[in-house]
């Protein structure tokens, strides 16, 4: 079980790692896992850690709050206004910190342990337990350091992915992430880098409880940092807002549900189950149903009628998913499965067909949308 302190240790240590690489300085990390308690309490802890790290970075005893504010900007790349710093300092209950007249007086170092081992050790031990037959710990002297470095990068990747604008979601350069991991393995002279990489990814997708907690904690931290970046108030949001609207899912959402090997399958399934937990009414329209049926039929024609292999089969995700399916069904079985999408959506996700309301289409608005499409399709 990861304890809060252990994760704090890791991220404090990561701070020093990123200082060594100034280009990544904006990704300086401090984190408290938010998985072990109430959301707001955990986010308050993150704020505290940000203040502690900033204060510890000074080598003088008396510090003005505007200095703290600009140091936070320098270290974390986020705007943290002076009044917010003052509010946080008033809330702190540490004998090492005194706050009066906008001046912070440090009477000692705020205790922050810089030992990374507390967090990484259980992960590394588990990794080695799973894959030790592939490695000779004596030959690969730096195996643990390699593992640590890879996980540090993974933290960076998750934070960067959170910063991406929604229009650029498809442009996250996962290949370059992969190249960075490859470079680390070469630098550390791992005896079989390809195997290490594939085992590392296998471990990341495994059911390891420690790993899951670690990744979810990092993700929650990335969200908090992103919210700070966008100057959003972390405390006032609530998921318990009573008025939940309809969510209409597009055809590609349904195909992602049906296609287990689709890149977005896990995201879409998680998104649907979280939306349901939050109380949203998830529906698909009759038009979407018809579009999906056309897509399924077009895949069927490709598989049954056309006798040559074309580039289109590899582009059709229903076919690609069939080809990747480890349970090796034949196409007819898969075709029947795809056609049962209504039943799957209803039973697994409580998603129903929408009774499309009778409404008068705004002709001008539709024409306007078509014009926008004309421009973007050119």
């Amino acid at each position: 079980m990861l304890r809060k302190l252990e994760l704090t240790k890791l991220f404090v240590s990561l701070k020093y790692y990123f200082i060594c690489f100034p280009s990544m300085q904006k990704d300086l990390l401090e984190i408290i896992p938010i998985l072990e308690g109430n959301l707001n309490t955990c986010r308050e802890e993150i704020h505290k850690q940000i203040i502690y790290t900033a204060l510890n970075s000074f080598d003088k005893q008396k510090i003005e709050i505007r200095e703290v504010s600009s140091r936070i900007k320098e270290l974390f790349g986020v705007n943290y206004p002076e009044e917010k710093v003052a509010h946080q300092l008033e809330e702190l209950d540490l004998c090492e910190i005194k706050f009066e007249n906008n001046i912070v007086t440090l009477t000692g170092n705020i205790p922050q342990d810089n030992n990374i081992n507390g967090v990484i050790d259980p992960l590394f031990n588990e990794f080695m337990r799973r894959y030790k037959k592939h490695y000779d710990i004596y030959l690969d002297n730096y195996l643990k350091n390699t593992f640590i470095k890879c996980f540090e990068q993974i933290v960076g990747f998750i934070i960067k992915s959170q910063e991406i604008n929604e229009l650029n979601l498809d442009t996250i350069d996962l290949k370059s992430n992969d190249e960075i991991i490859k470079e680390i393995l070469v630098d550390f002279k791992v005896s079989n880098p390809d195997k290490f990489r594939s085992k590392l990814y296998e471990f990341l997708l495994s059911d390891s409880e420690n790993k899951n907690k670690f990744i979810l904690s990092v993700h929650q931290y990335a969200i908090s940092l992103d919210l700070l970046n966008r100057s959003s108030d972390l405390y006032t949001y609530s998921k318990d807002y009573p008025d939940k609207g309809i969510l209409l899912i597009d055809t590609n959402i349904i195909t992602s549900v049906l296609c287990k090997y689709n890149r977005f399958h896990d995201t879409v399934v998680s998104m649907l189950s979280l939306s349901k937990k939050f109380g949203f009414d998830i529906r698909y329209s009759r038009e979407t149903k018809n579009e999906l049926l056309r897509l399924i039929n077009s895949a069927d024609i490709m598989m049954r009628v056309t006798k040559s292999v074309t580039k289109y089969e590899r582009k059709n995700e229903l076919i690609t998913d069939y080809l990747r399916d480890a349970s090796k069904p034949n196409w007819t079985e898969k075709f029947i499965f795809y056609n049962s999408f209504e039943n799957i959506l209803r039973t697994k996700f409580e998603v129903e067909l929408l009774d499309d309301p009778c409404f008068e289409e705004d002709k001008d608005f539709s024409d306007y949308i078509l014009q926008v499409y004309d421009i973007t399709l050119c």
Partner: protein
């Protein structure tokens, strides 16, 4: 007469391909998107904005999201229509307590990792490609081992694998045709397997595919010859 027949064969094939190969006609896809935006617009007017800016259309299609944002900006609206599934997931995660996560840790972690760390696989492996070929031969996915066996025994196997890795469609077809048009190798393989009981359908499928491949190669050669002339 023969020319007309060839023309008809090519025409029919290309017509079928025209409908089969395209995932969806562009117009109907656009009409679908326009309808959904109209539908959400109707809900926004009749019910107003609800939690997290809902009602929303959730999609993975970047162009759809771009169009929605464009309309929002240019029409000066205080609401959008479409949100990316990943963004919606991230938004909900911002509000998750431990209770919302419990029991779904594996799925949520896997979603985060696949989205931000591990690159997706865009090309087919040889096994997957053999499964596709088997289907094209009128066989079933499970019969792909026969196809794989033929390819594995060929000298062109590594070339085909490279073409698959790089998604080089033209080379994939060329190498496949070259492998299956190799009469002596195919005859040897079929002779070895012909004695196996209950495999007549598979052997027939392989033979038919070989015939088709050879006929198409001859046809292409003739076309090239005519073009040169």
């Amino acid at each position: 007469m023969k020319k007309i027949k060839i023309f008809l064969i090519i025409y029919c094939r290309s017509t079928i391909l025209h409908y089969a190969e395209r995932e969806l006609p562009v117009k109907s896809a656009v009409d679908h998107d326009v309808y959904l935006i109209n539908l959400v617009n109707y809900y926004k007017h009749s019910e107003g904005n609800r939690q997290f800016g809902s009602p929303w259309i959730i999609s993975l299609h970047n162009q759809f999201i771009f169009v929605s944002d464009y309309i929002k900006t240019n029409k000066n609206l205080d609401y959008g229509f479409v949100i990316h599934a990943q963004k919606w997931f991230n938004l909900l995660m911002e509000f998750c307590d431990i209770d919302d996560i419990r029991g779904n840790e594996n799925l949520l972690t896997s979603a985060i990792i696949k989205y931000s760390i591990i690159p997706p696989k865009n090309s087919l492996t040889l096994d997957e490609y053999c499964k596709l070929l088997a289907n094209k031969m009128g066989l079933e996915g499970a019969d792909a081992e026969y196809v794989l066996d033929i390819i594995t025994k060929s000298k062109l196997k590594s070339d085909l694998e490279k073409s698959l890795e790089t998604n080089d469609a033209e080379n994939i077809t060329d190498k496949t045709y070259e492998i299956f048009a190799n009469v002596s190798a195919m005859d040897k393989f079929i002779a070895q397997r012909e004695s196996e009981k209950g495999k007549d359908r598979i052997i027939q499928g392989l033979k038919d595919f070989q015939k088709k491949v050879i006929a198409e190669r001859i046809f292409i050669k003739k076309c090239c010859h005519l073009q040169v002339l």
